[in-house]
């Protein structure tokens, strides 16, 4: 089990919703072996699986809070679970946190990075400010996680 796991969440078919996936893709292969990089299309069970046993999980997801598109919320508060659970299609990060808590399978530390999206239209490409935020977030995470000694204790 990797010490640290970076999870990018999103759908590549809904414009800026792909931001988390894109950050993960840019980090893959560039980080020490103690860091696992995982893409997640919104399956909460797989999300719980991805961060189980990790000391640190960094979850990157697109958000829509009304801030200017491309704003990086770091750290963002994990979203509150919806009072109206819907289908498994709509289960998200909040449900994964609740499921992880119920199962005693939360990571040691959970950091949520939110990237404010502007356009979530099906089939739309990511917008320029969000692409810039993806580059900025990937660079920042790479710098932070590359400083850590592979396999060594996190400080």
């Amino acid at each position: 089990m990797a010490e640290t796991v970076v999870v990018g969440i999103g759908s590549e078919l809904r414009g800026d919703d792909a931001a988390g996936l894109e950050v993960a893709r840019r980090l893959r292969g560039t980080l020490p072996p103690s860091v696992a990089v995982v893409e997640n299309g919104g399956d909460p069970a797989a999300l719980v699986e991805a961060w189980s046993g990790a000391a640190l999980a960094i979850v990157v997801d697109a958000v829509s809070s009304g801030a200017p598109p491309g704003t990086v919320h770091l750290p963002a508060e994990p979203p509150a679970p919806s009072r109206q659970p819907s289908g498994s299609h709509a289960l998200g990060l909040a449900d994964a946190v609740e499921l992880g808590r119920a199962l005693g399978r939360l990571p040691g530390e959970l950091v949520v990075v939110g990237i404010e999206g502007g356009d979530f239209t099906p089939g739309a490409p990511m917008t320029p400010p969000v692409l810039a935020a993806v580059r900025r977030t990937a660079r920042g995470l790479r710098e932070r996680l590359s400083r850590e000694r592979p396999g060594g204790p996190r400080t």
Binding site: G41, A45, S88, H89, A102, L103
Partner: protein, 433 residues
């Protein structure tokens, strides 16, 4: 004159978004509409003008829960149009991939969406807090399905390795070994799941269903077969998949973006686990047949609430058969057979976890898709689900609205409707005037 309306604004623990409105007048149901309000998705129109190799990847995006079903029905329809056939180890690989999806989908539905109804929880997450070991077992099962799909399809959802004619790359025996290891544990978990759900407290309800499911001469039909229909008493009738449109007619209804379907002129037939089991239970693997018998299912099950038991039995079958196929797997000489486009019409059907999924394509002189027709299981079941709800609600209209709404949602979840798939679906509203 008294009027009452029960409205469920958004159905929970089903796939996709739908609503239910029930209108009651003087204590009788005057109207009942299962509303599929998820927007039409226009997949059939999107496919026109596309190359003959594209429908499997495009239609896989109809659903994140059962993309393999879309890929398999699409591939077989295109291959039929082009005069190609996938047999031997390549067909075995398709079946294996499909078993993976069945395990994923059924484990998710049984543990996180359906079981909470029987144990009195609002959600799978709430159930997990009290029944951690059970939910962990469900997640282990689902993971076994994910790993099988990943081993063959390249990733756990929306596999990227499927193509018309077979696969881009066939896995080696060695690459399937870890999935087999997990499947052996999953098969034990699946047997335990049957024993667990068989002990639930089921309402004493039976419907006189008219079933529709694929039938295969030697298999519990999933990947392919002819269409079987019947009530589970007499020997089933049937027709070839290519004759689908002579028997199944879709029609628009005002309250839904999903179409309703008629079978030989009659509305309200049922496809899905109860139908498959009623028409094919003798062809389950011996281990799955034993589990079904121990669970008290009999050869036909007409109690929609016990669909959860049938699903659990089907997980046993999928694990068992997947292991048998992996044991006997010989790497194919080539990962696919050639499929050259030609003008014509092709039909394909397979058993998605929720029921029969039919595709038809017409290719033009240039080999491009000129027409596409997709008939998903939830659209076929929609009228039958409404009939189940009428039977349930008729004698109970005086109950408080929140109780009515909860009953309706339970009855709907028996059928594991996939609203997103059928949106071409729940908000319950009972209108008592």
């Amino acid at each position: 004159m008294t009027h009452k309306t029960v409205r469920i604004g958004a159905l929970t623990r089903v796939e996709g978004e739908g609503a239910l409105v029930v209108h009651a007048r003087d204590g009788r149901i005057a109207g009942l509409e299962l509303r599929i309000y998820e927007p039409p998705r226009f997949f059939e129109a999107m496919l026109r003008g596309r190359g003959h190799t594209e429908p499997p990847d495009i239609t896989a995006r109809v659903c994140g829960i059962c993309p393999v079903a879309y890929q398999m029905s699409a591939c077989q329809a295109i291959e039929a149009a082009c005069g190609a056939e996938v047999t031997g180890p390549l067909r075995d690989l398709r079946l294996l991939l499909y078993y993976g999806e069945w395990i994923e989908s059924h484990a998710l539905h049984v543990y996180l969406l359906h079981a909470p109804d029987f144990l009195g929880y609002d959600s799978g997450v709430a159930m997990a807090a009290d029944h951690r070991d059970l939910v962990e077992r469900g997640l282990e099962l689902k993971k076994a399905g994910n790993e099988l799909v990943t081993a063959i399809g390249g990733r756990p959802i929306h596999p990227v390795n499927v193509r018309v004619g077979g696969f881009y790359r066939a896995p080696s025996r060695r690459e399937l070994a870890p999935a087999a290891e997990r499947l052996r544990r999953a098969r034990d978990h699946a047997l335990a799941t049957v024993a667990w759900v068989a002990g639930f407290d089921f309402p004493d309800v039976e419907h006189d269903y008219r079933f529709l499911a694929l039938r295969h001469p030697s298999e519990y039909a999933i990947l392919s077969g002819a269409v079987g229909t019947g009530d589970g008493r007499a020997e089933p009738a049937g027709f070839a998949v290519a004759d689908w449109s002579d028997h199944v007619i879709e029609e628009q209804v005002p309250h839904s973006t999903a179409l309703h379907a008629r079978l030989d002129g009659e509305t309200g037939y049922l496809t899905g686990p109860l139908a498959r089991y009623a028409l094919n239970s003798a062809r389950l693997s011996p281990l799955a047949r034993e589990a079904a018998a121990a669970a008290g299912l009999g050869p036909v099950c007409r109690n929609p609430y016990r669909a959860i038991v049938v699903r659990a039995v089907e997980i046993v079958h999928a694990c068992d058969e997947a292991l048998r196929l992996i044991d006997g797997y010989a790497e194919p000489e080539r990962p696919c057979v050639p499929v050259e486009p030609r003008p014509g019409v092709g039909h394909g059907a397979s058993e998605a976890p929720r029921g029969t999924l039919y595709h038809r394509y017409r290719l033009d002189d240039g080999g491009l898709v000129a027409e596409a027709d997709i008939v998903p299981p939830t659209a076929q079941n929609q009228a039958r689900i409404e009939a189940d709800l009428r039977d349930l609600l008729g004698p109970r209209l005086t109950l408080p609205e929140d109780e009515l709404a909860a009953l309706c949602e339970k009855a709907i979840r028996n059928h594991d409707p996939c609203i997103s798939c059928s949106a071409h679906f729940l908000d319950l509203r009972v209108d008592h005037g």
